[in-house]
């Protein structure tokens, strides 16, 4: 019976700890943005463009909330900023072993609002992902670039949002087919 008591309490504690840590355990990262959804997305777009030396181009901007609204339900704003870099995707797509990772392309950064009214940025944990799938070197680079994507300079004015259809070419990018 003692076991039951201990089990009951451990159960509660475990569930609590698991819930608390879930976000870290998973391969996704969430950071809060000081700007609104549109401005955050636009600033990320600018940051992506600033790394064109690494092959980055914008390949799309999606607004999934709009489609859901059309079907009759409410969801807070979400914008998916899609970017890709042939420099990184080339080697991954060149290998049979890793070609399946194309499922994660283009690289998507999501910007959304939560019920607390604040704006958040969701990113893939590129470093961890890379290690898991044996492309650690490339993904470590992506992870580095991701940091730049989400580092904002408040002194710069809010740039306009670049509305490109998904699958379209990056604005001024080298790889017009958007990977």
């Amino acid at each position: 019976m003692m076991k039951a008591v201990v089990g009951f309490i451990t159960g509660i504690v475990f569930v609590g700890i698991a819930g608390w840590n879930m976000a870290d355990v998973m391969m996704l990262r969430e950071i809060q943005s000081p700007y609104g959804v549109e401005e955050t997305a636009a600033r990320i777009q600018r940051n992506i463009q600033s790394l064109s030396a690494n092959g980055w181009t914008l390949s799309g901007l999606r607004n999934p909330a709009k489609a859901i609204a059309k079907s009759g339900s409410n969801v807070p704003p979400v914008l998916l900023v899609e970017a890709c870099s042939t420099k990184y995707s080339g080697p991954i797509l060149g290998e049979d072993k890793t070609r399946i990772l194309s499922i994660l392309m283009p690289c998507t950064i999501t910007v959304y609002k939560k019920d607390d009214g604040k704006t958040y940025i969701g990113l893939m944990n590129a470093g961890l992902m890379g290690k898991m799938f044996g492309v650690g070197d490339i993904m470590a680079q992506v992870a580095k670039d991701q940091v730049i994507f989400t580092t904002f300079d408040p002194k710069k004015p809010a740039p306009p949002l670049i509305k490109i259809k998904p699958g379209g070419g990056g604005a001024g990018g080298k790889s017009a087919d958007g990977c």
Binding site: M1, I12, V15
Partner: protein, 199 residues
């Protein structure tokens, strides 16, 4: 040499275990409703807590009926003097004799310690938890019942206090269930109905 006596009848055992499950479940959901942790989600927790409450109410209706028709209710309401004696006995005896658990002498269902505990449950925890729970369930009718002056905060306050007392009772109860003739004899009795007692 141990003797076996039939203590818990079939309905009683069913009542005990289903009530046990319901109370555990109500503690689990109840403390979530109180905001201690998040398990089922608030909405599900309240709904489950309410369903469990009504199940327990119907179980109690049967149990009360059973106790009165069978006369078993007498097992729960000891006479005052007996309670006095047993209180004294167990309040002192338990300390001195704890290293050597006292022999189970009664052929009655419940030993004096249990009676004491159940008295506490019946006289304090239950009235408190049921009254406040009932008010909680019928929050919208307070005005019609003439209880418009009540505040949810106080109802919730006493409900939570009762819940903590129930949790404490639950811990102690589980422990004392091991305090029979052997560690498992009480538990076995609650399952099979037969209790091993010392000669």
């Amino acid at each position: 040499m141990a003797e076996r006596i039939y203590i818990f009848k079939r309905f009683e055992r069913f009542w005990h275990w289903s009530q046990a499950l319901l109370i555990i479940f109500m503690m689990l959901t109840g403390f979530e409703v109180h905001g201690v942790y998040s398990l089922f989600g608030f909405q599900a927790a309240t709904e489950l807590h309410t369903i469990a409450a009504w199940t327990l109410v119907s179980l109690w209706v049967f149990a009360i009926f059973w106790h009165f028709t069978t006369g078993e209710w007498k097992q729960y309401i000891p006479t005052m003097e007996k309670v006095d004696q047993m209180l004294k006995f167990y309040l002192t005896g338990i300390f001195t004799d704890a290293p050597h658990p006292f022999k189970q002498t009664t052929v009655r269902k419940h030993n004096p310690l249990q009676r004491l505990a159940y008295l506490f449950v019946l006289a304090i925890i239950n009235p408190l938890i049921w009254t406040t729970g009932w008010f909680y369930l019928f929050y919208g009718s307070w005005g019609n019942w003439g209880f418009g002056w009540l505040s949810l905060e106080w109802v919730a306050f006493f409900h939570v206090i009762a819940a903590f007392m129930m949790l404490i009772f639950f811990i102690a109860h589980i422990y004392l269930a091991t305090a029979g003739h052997t560690v498992t004899s009480h538990i076995k009795a609650m399952i099979t109905g037969w209790e091993e007692v010392e000669d």
